[in-house]
Subunit: 307 residues, 2 copies
């Protein structure tokens, strides 16, 4: 039985991953906001390093009230919009629908589970560099791997089926045996570079070139590793070294929070900083430097900075 | 016997304090750099909240080689120029000349003592808001108290005489019984606000208005208090509360490091951040957040930030 997909938030992530599935012939319905009419008229265009494509006929919706129920709901919103899910999702869920939160940070599944306690929920981590560059127009610049894992529900077989669908669509996907470990590991990279590129208004390569911020990046990573371990999540210190090497090998890069900041969109401070800090603190470890970065970002978000 | 003064660095600080002494009829010689000819031709002008004045005939020099020996050398350079002292000072010192370093931070006296091991040395802390606003033109906006203390030498009586001279000149001056305590106490204010106004490109009042940076300011203060105590310097935690109240009561303020940054001058990172961090670390306490601020400032100083 083939899965029916709904994509909530059809931007840089949803447009790409949903677009790939639809392009491979899967049953995918998209929720659009501002782009709805444009996509109905012109379709969805994806410029990808793995091959450009255009979807002429997109199953586009402007409201979930009009969408049929889905087996898999790929939530690709920024976490700053997660308060909308309580309203957006109920009408498209049947009792076995799997909500997959393809989002950054820590604690998103737990929060969504408060509103949907009986619903199968999974998390997804996107290792991708993609941007929305115009109406119905996505640019996929690099990477693309997806890592999904169970949060609640007996859904391993569904996740394997999702993985198979993505494989057919040309998206390398892993089912992680430990979603929280995957989330903490991603934080080892996300925490230093998202915040520091905003606070210091720069790119990853410059942070790595200067001896002070290079060391600070590493120290922030080690704090996250120690925070994870305090929470009983196994992340090796050597993982920080791997992330340093990875960043050295990357082209100059502005992480998603820097792009949000540059485009005056709200930053995902809550799930990338506040929740990890609180979670580690509750487990007995104070990630002091991460907390300092969080406070600096909150100040910048407040609009009191002259930038 | 009246003291002969030399002022090294006749800018916002030296121009004001030396100017006040000269205005009161004391024997003061000034070393000028760019302003020399202007001051010879036009004198020195001080616009002060405590009363404007103009010195028509200033004993101005462009080189210490031409200056007579002085009993008291008021060093009012930015610490980023302290490498010049080794060359500037010897010709104006006799064996009892007191070098008074009216400068910010920690460790300035110890470093100068390496080059002048036999010379009497004192430190001075200026609690003042003043700026150089033009050639030979100083604006004194607020405060003005001077706090001096012995670093090396049997010079208590000279410091009392300096205090008396300043009193005559209308500058409230204290002789501190413990210079290092005075320096650490001043760091309790200087460390949070100098660095944070630069990194977050803002003013003290905005840092106090936002809940996150307000808390971060206080946490940085407590780290400095703990650092001081690790070094055997008695600073009470309540001193941090006093500094918070002081800052709340101040008009919006850009500390000296923010002014240096805005005018693209080098910042005094070494003595305000690096030395305190190293000193506390040696005594067994890691001021983690202060160290993070130091690294962020070093990155900004490197010019790699797009600001």
């Amino acid at each position: 039985m083939s899965l029916k997909y709904a994509v909530i938030g059809s931007g840089a992530l949803g447009g790409f991953y949903g677009g790939k599935l639809a392009h491979a012939g899967k049953d995918v319905r998209f929720l659009f906001h501002n782009d709805y009419q444009f996509v109905v008229d012109n379709g969805l265009k994806v410029d990808s390093v793995t091959g450009n494509f255009h979807l002429a006929n997109v199953r586009a919706y402007r409201s979930t009230a009009d969408m049929p129920k889905a087996d898999v709901v790929l939530v690709c919103l920024k976490t700053t919009n997660n308060h909308l899910l309580k309203t957006l999702l109920p009408s498209i869920l049947h009792s076995d629908s799997v909500i997959v939160l393809i989002q950054n940070g820590l604690g998103v599944e737990a929060d969504v589970a408060l509103d949907f306690p009986q619903q199968p929920i999974a998390g997804g981590l996107a290792f991708i560099c993609s941007n929305k560059i115009g109406d119905g127009h996505i640019a996929h610049l690099d990477y693309g791997k997806l890592n999904i894992g169970v949060f609640q529900g007996d859904i391993n077989s569904v996740l394997e089926q999702i993985k198979a669908d993505f494989a057919e669509a040309g998206v390398p996907t892993e089912v992680s045996p430990d979603l929280m470990q995957a989330r903490w590991q991603k934080l080892v990279w996300n925490i230093p570079y998202n915040g520091m590129t905003v606070v210091l208004n720069t790119t990853t390569d410059r942070l790595m070139r200067d001896a002070s911020t290079r060391q600070l990046s590493y120290e922030l990573m080690l704090e996250v590793v120690t925070g994870a371990r305090a929470c009983g999540i196994e992340v090796k210190e050597s993982f920080a070294d791997k992330m340093m090497e990875l960043t050295d090998s990357m082209t100059p890069y502005a992480p998603s929070m820097k792009l949000d900041f540059d485009h005056k969109r709200p930053m995902e401070i809550e799930y990338i900083y506040t929740r990890p800090v609180k979670t580690a603190l509750k487990a007995g470890y104070n990630m002091k430097k991460v907390a300092m970065l969080e406070f600096q970002l909150r100040f910048i978000q407040s609009g009191l900075s002259e930038r």
